[in-house]
């Protein structure tokens, strides 16, 4: 495991006021929020931000959310999955209105990132909402005109739970060198070969890259999912320092 950025110190992070300018429905329980953040310093695909809410009485709550796309001037995109009994996500999905302020600071995280200067093959393995930072990498690849071969292996419960479904279909058609494969754990679409199952060795072996190609592997999802996939990749012979992980717990 190398240091994320060799010896460099980063500038202090300040809270900035962000306003909602657009909202898109991804699934019945997830939405993408497009925020305008004046003075946003830019970020790398895979990084996240802290979002802070303040109530009238001064009470504050903050949570971390992955950035869903590459930097676009002062605009950033987050995809928020509703956490049952959560404190922040239900507000962002149900109450937060266009023009309303929240505070954000970031970008945070310098290890689970993909840089467009990388040319190695990339394997992205996402479970559920863990696909969000991986989608940022898919989009960053497109935005930079990168030719790095990308494979995305995306595990979801049912077809209705797929984030960015239309865009992924389009990108597989238009973005040369991008493959997308799905694993369905509860209910598969008609015509899908095989039964619903949890991700396993055959999926990772079939849809991943041979270790000889020294791909960069990014794995994001719930803890059990990440443990399983990272262990499989190491077992298949991938170098541990080329397997980068990010675990999503319920964070409200």
């Amino acid at each position: 495991m190398a240091a994320p950025t060799a010896g460099a110190r980063v500038a202090p992070l300040t809270w900035r006021v962000a306003r909602l300018i657009e909202r898109r429905t991804e699934t019945a329980t997830a939405q993408t929020l497009v925020l305008e953040v004046p003075g946003w310093p830019g970020h790398l695909a895979g990084q996240h931000v802290d979002v802070r809410l303040t109530a009238e009485d001064g009470y504050q709550a903050a949570r971390s959310y992955s950035l869903a796309g590459p930097a676009d001037g002062d605009r950033i995109e987050l995809t928020v999955q509703r956490v049952p009994d959560g404190e922040v996500s239900p507000y962002l999905i149900d109450t937060y209105a266009e023009g309303d302020p929240v505070e954000v600071r970031g970008p945070v995280g310098g290890w689970f990132v993909w840089r467009p200067t990388e040319t190695a093959p990339v394997l992205l393995v996402g479970g559920g909402s863990g696909v969000v930072p991986l989608m940022a990498m898919v989009r960053a690849r497109r935005a930079a005109g990168s030719r790095a071969p990308f494979r995305l292996l995306y595990s979801v419960r049912t077809p209705a739970d797929v984030f960015y479904a239309d865009e992924l279909r389009r990108r597989v058609r238009d973005d040369f060198g991008l493959d997308v494969a799905y694993v369905y754990t509860r209910e598969a679409p008609e015509g899908w070969r095989g039964e619903p199952h949890r991700i396993g060795l055959a999926d990772v072996n079939t849809h991943g890259w041979p270790p000889d190609l020294r791909p960069l592997c990014y794995v994001c999802g719930p803890t059990g999912f990440v443990e399983t996939v990272a262990d499989l990749l190491v077992g298949l012979g991938h170098e541990t320092r080329r397997v980068r992980t990010e675990r999503f717990g319920p964070t409200g």
Binding site: L13, A61, Y91, G110
Partner: protein
């Protein structure tokens, strides 16, 4: 006070003992690691303290288990904002391990199987505030939580409690570790909310 987000109320304010600012309670034990979980066999496991002069103090697993063991019940606080109350651990105090170590160093860099590192002032490893913990909740510490043994420094954010700990290098200068190099705070006091550099 920050900018008010209209309509945000938050959870009912609790009468429980306060958590550090910006933290919320969880009953789970979430996992945060940067890479795959190392699997470390006990028969080759070792713990090494290296002084600033290069002197090495080594313990095998059996030697570590033969040292005085302590039971610790503490709250833990992760920089990703979850806190967990009354976690039960068993392990060896760093006071015990540092007892025979000849050093004038001020800084420590913990290093782990798998390559993880994190820096702390040496003073924070002393005074019954830090342990090499091998038992969690009455059983062997699971690998995904840092087993066979992890550092336990509960008064700092939990990334300072290095999982899969292999040793500690003592030094006269402060050398940032893995997350510290990526922009996280050098000290990481949850009560002062020192999450990132500059906090």
């Amino acid at each position: 006070m920050g900018i008010v987000s209209p309509g945000f109320q938050g959870r009912p304010r609790s009468a429980e003992p306060a958590l550090p600012p910006g933290q919320y309670l969880t009953e789970d034990f979430p996992v945060l690691s940067a890479g795959p979980t190392p699997k470390v066999p006990l028969d080759t496991w070792e713990f090494v303290i290296t002084s600033e002069t290069g002197a090495e103090y080594r313990w095998t697993w059996d030697e570590m288990m033969a040292l005085p063991q302590e039971t610790v019940t503490v709250d833990i606080h992760c920089v990703t904002r979850w806190s967990k109350r009354d976690t039960d651990w068993r392990g060896v105090s760093l006071d015990t391990l540092l007892d025979g170590v000849d050093t004038a160093a001020h800084y420590a860099l913990a290093h782990s199987y798998g390559g993880y590192t994190t820096n702390l002032p040496l003073a924070d490893l002393r005074g019954a505030r830090a342990w090499v913990a091998h038992t969690y909740d009455g059983g062997p510490l699971p690998a995904e939580h840092g087993g066979p043994a992890r550092l336990l420094v509960p008064h700092l954010y939990f990334w300072k409690s290095a999982k899969w700990v292999r040793g500690i290098r003592l030094g006269t200068t402060d050398q940032p570790g893995f997350w510290e190099t990526a922009g996280y705070h050098d000290y990481g006091d949850p009560w002062r909310e020192q999450r990132y550099q500059g906090d």
